[in-house]
């Protein structure tokens, strides 16, 4: 049996995994990253528009700070987020941008003086400050009060992944490419690593580690129409679920991005609308102001996606061979802007649609985009129920996005979580010893080998690719933007049938080495469990919150549902997850639940909301003369939750820090 030992095992080589690995390696821990693909090809690369961090360098970002970013994020989450974690995040995001600036990310920079921008369909001249010249620039994004999204043209994720990937190489982080974790090794209370399959040779190995981190990204490929890369199949989520011990939080919270190109579903960035692009219907009418007079195209993604579908349902969609869509119009931004700041969008339109976005409108329709749910962790990134198992990024639910993530908060989360969890995982390794249970490791490998052998030797008649396609179509049709009890019941029943059928899969191509059909087969079984976790969680949650919208329960219901779904999969033979719930504590919220400022104004209050609101008001009133930091600390202290080296304020043009003492 091949056993590989390390201190830290990171499953996933995207931004979160690589940044976490760099942190652990710099702290002196041996670190191995497992990746399905060469790490620079990970889906982090597809993040186009940018990363939110309240630097406040541009004039339209003036007055921005952690407090504003915090409120935008909590409102965006429809109060589903953990407010302490949001605080940790917003305080670290500026540090992450500045670190990446030093590591070589060519952030787009502010140019002093006048420039013309498009705001609300109109050309407006704004003047950037002299003192901001050359600092990192910000653009507008949905659901934000200030221009906060730092960017590198529209290749932000690409540039970040280059820099972090190169840093990892420079630090000598080992990356084992083209391997896949099939199962976590654990004894019901402690995680010891993973059973890993080499996708070239088909051989299994046990990777035994003091600490294991899941950084496997999202699960978009559970859906037929998704912006996600083909590798985002949620296998990291699934292997956590299959431990029976670790819980997945809020899996029913699935984001649909308003602007997937139609019909391929490839993303064009929110920056298109942030920079002034408009959504138009079959008549060329700009319809978003009719629904959202305040934020228009720049309400949060869940709201814009629903309004687009609502408008199409009213008969205002554009009919095409593949179905209906609406238009994204960025022609008003002009050729120079598009070719400079939206060049990936230009390429995508050119190659996949044969459309020149300088002259023509882009056909778009919402597509699955982001998995808010993930391995439930503490603010340290560690699972509260399976010691030694950590998670970071989209695979995690620590939980900063609640039921809807803001654009620009995901790439930001990857590096911020990598920095924070990387420190805590290092503390864990400093503190913990590892007694290797050799029998347990051997059994885990044998179990996975037996499953693969059974698939290859069996005479099953079901085709994995057919089952997978049925699941994907079902998820898009029944567990999508608009959900009902009826559709979700059908989805759960059909998924259970698919799960039963998946136990009778055959793999006609018998090679045990590079065998794409075998891969589809074992992944499909895992994906079906995850799909059931989403569909069943959505069925039970009889309210609407963020991206989870129920036509039959259209109101957010804080009285009953201000709580996080926790799903576990207790027995291998189960056909449904076991659901539990973890209440969010209103009495400790810095921003008690209220109206988001866009979308429906209709919700049921939690019984404790009024009292907490009064309390927050009283504290603010009492500290009216104090600075914002003091006021904030009185409401929700968080700095003690951060690793020591990531504490401290963030300097801005308008919030200068005293000069360093001369050395």
């Amino acid at each position: 049996m091949n056993i590989i030992y390390t201190d830290v095992l990171v499953v996933g080589g995207g931004l979160a995994g690589l940044r976490l690995a760099v942190a652990a390696k710099q702290r002196g821990h041996e670190t191995i990253v497992l990746s399905l693909v060469p790490p620079k090809r990970s889906h982090s690369k597809a993040a186009q528009g940018g990363m939110q961090a309240s630097l406040g360098n541009v004039i339209k970002g003036q007055g921005d700070n952690e407090d504003v970013h915090f409120e935008d994020t909590v409102r965006g989450s429809d109060w589903g987020a953990d407010q302490e974690v949001v605080r940790m995040f917003v305080n670290t995001a500026p540090k992450a941008v500045r670190e990446l600036a030093a590591w070589g990310v060519p952030w787009s920079r502010v140019r002093k003086g006048d420039r013309t921008v498009i705001i609300n369909g109109q050309k407006v001249t704004i003047t950037e400050r002299d003192e901001a010249h050359g600092l990192v620039a910000q653009r507008d994004f949905g659901g934000t009060k200030k221009w906060r999204t730092c960017y590198v043209s529209d290749g932000t994720g690409h540039a970040m992944l280059q820099a972090v990937g190169d840093q990892a190489i420079g630090d000598g982080v080992a990356v084992h490419e083209r391997v896949e974790a099939l199962a976590l090794i654990h004894d019901g209370s402690r995680c010891y690593g993973a059973v890993v399959r080499n996708l070239i040779t088909g051989e299994l190995a046990a990777y035994v580690a003091k600490a294991t981190a899941l950084a496997t990204g999202g699960a978009g490929r559970l859906y037929r129409v998704t912006t996600n890369a083909v590798i985002n199949e949620g296998i990291g989520h699934a292997i956590a679920l299959e431990t029976g011990v670790a819980a997945l939080g809020n899996m029913e919270a699935v984001q649909f991005h308003p602007t997937g190109i139609f019909p391929a579903g490839i993303l064009v960035t929110e920056g298109c609308r942030g920079d002034g692009g408009l959504l138009k219907d079959v008549d060329g009418h700009r319809f978003m102001p009719d629904y959202e007079p305040e934020k228009k195209e720049l309400a949060s993604r869940d709201v814009v996606s629903r309004r687009m579908e609502e408008h199409i349902a009213k008969g205002k969609g554009v009919k095409s061979h593949f179905g209906e869509h609406v238009w994204l119009d960025i022609t008003l931004l002009g050729e120079h802007h598009i070719k400079q700041n939206l060049r990936e969008v230009f390429d995508i339109c050119h190659y996949f649609l044969g459309v020149d976005p300088v002259k023509d409108m882009i056909p778009v329709r919402p597509a699955q985009h982001y998995t808010m749910g993930g391995l439930r962790t503490l603010p340290t990134g560690e699972s509260p129920t399976l010691k030694g198992l950590f998670a970071a990024g989209e695979a995690a639910c620590w939980d900063m996005h609640g039921f809807n993530r803001l654009g620009g908060n995901s790439v930001a989360e990857t590096v911020v979580a990598g920095m924070i969890v990387g420190e805590f995982i290092s503390d864990f390794c400093d503190r913990e010893d590892l007694n290797i249970p050799v029998g347990l490791v051997r059994d885990a490998v044998a179990r996975e080998q037996a499953k693969l052998d059974a698939l290859l030797a069996g005479k099953g008649t079901e085709s994995a690719s057919v089952l997978k396609a049925e699941m994907q179509t079902l998820m898009t049709d029944k567990v999508g933007i608009f959900r009902t009890g009826e559709k979700l019941t059908q989805a759960v029943e059909t998924l259970q049938q698919l799960l039963a059928r998946s136990r009778n899969m055959g793999v006609p191509y018998k090679s045990s080495g590079a065998n794409p059909e075998l891969v589809t087969a074992y992944r499909t079984q895992k994906m079906l469990r995850l799909a059931l976790t989403i569909a069943y969680g959505a069925l039970v949650r009889t309210e609407s919150r963020g991206a989870h919208f129920r036509n039959d329960y259209p109101r957010r219901n804080d009285a009953q549902w201000l709580k996080r779904t926790l799903a576990t999969w207790k027995n291998d033979s189960d056909t449904l997850p076991t659901l539990g719930y973890e209440p969010l504590d209103v009495k400790r919220m810095e921003l008690p639940p209220g109206w988001r400022g866009y979308g429906a104004k209709d919700y049921v209050d939690h019984p404790e909301t009024a009292a907490r609101l009064a309390e927050v008001e009283a504290i603010r009133h009492k500290l009216a003369g104090a600075d914002r930091i003091t006021r904030q600390q009185a409401l929700l202290p968080f700095e003690h939750l951060l690793p020591a080296r990531l504490r401290g304020r963030n300097e801005r043009i308008d919030e200068p820090m005293p000069a360093r003492a001369a050395e």
Partner: protein, 246 residues
């Protein structure tokens, strides 16, 4: 959207070989399928795998032309399969794996291994002047145009097309290729990197580096990101020649 065509038959002639399998021999296998509207090679290859031949190996990740996974020889020319429309290369399409790189199986090659080795050799990361950063402070300003120039070179997706199209790479196993030379040009431009031309000369001042380039410049023609490889290689060569004469 334009009128729906489709319905016509196309044929993919794929060079197949799995070196992992004993007794496997390289051969060309032909698959026929119906062309759909807007069909890309990504769609066509997946349809073949789902409906005709589950053993066919190829690599896709983003399927949007940004990750560099799916470079292959398309009718004899390196390109990204995911964004290639079948109507532009058919009805007979010849597909082969990229040369130079280690073959995994069929159309799948190990570009990741090659790129990591190149990165380690050329030390393609910013060599920071000071390692410890005070992250609470405002970032250092950078000229906005310089940031754009760096991004222009940073757009490389390490797909391997330039290496596959390179005459020198066929002859010299250790040649760093246009991808490597472009990276040197990128870090040379970056004021955050503390290295000098003397340091870069150590890395690429020989025949496996910039002096190995024969200026055939297929790299420039086939780069899917249209990087200015011709000017960058010429620029690095001039700087390295000057350094060599010192």
């Amino acid at each position: 959207m334009s009128a729906v065509q489709g319905g016509q038959k196309i044929r993919l002639h794929i060079l197949r070989y799995n070196p992992q399998k004993k007794q496997d021999a390289p051969r060309v296998q032909t698959y026929e399928l119906e062309e759909a509207h807007g069909m890309t090679l990504f769609i066509a290859l997946n349809e073949i795998r789902d409906k005709q031949d589950p053993s066919l190996s190829f690599d896709f990740v983003c399927r949007a032309g940004i990750c560099g996974s799916c470079a292959m020889m398309i009718n004899g020319r390196p390109g990204l399969a995911c964004r290639t429309l079948t109507k532009n290369v058919g009805p007979d399409v010849h597909l082969a794996p990229l040369p130079v790189f280690e073959l995994i199986a069929d159309l799948s090659v190990n570009t990741g291994k090659w790129m990591r080795a190149m990165s380690e050799r050329l030390e393609t990361w910013v060599h920071m002047k000071q390692r410890e950063l005070d992250l609470t402070r405002i970032e250092r300003p950078m000229d906005p145009e310089l940031a754009e120039k760096i991004y222009e070179l940073d757009r490389c997706i390490e797909c391997g097309c330039c290496v596959a199209g390179c005459g020198t790479a066929r002859m010299r196993e250790d040649f760093v290729g246009a991808v490597g030379l472009n990276k040197i040009a990128r870090f040379r431009l970056d004021p955050r990197d503390g290295r000098s031309d003397e340091d870069y000369y150590e890395l690429v001042g020989d025949d496996d580096g910039v002096f190995g380039c024969m200026s055939l410049l297929a790299c420039h023609d086939v780069c899917p990101k249209e990087l200015p490889l011709q000017t960058q290689i010429a620029f690095v060569r001039r700087k390295m020649a000057a350094q060599g004469l010192k």
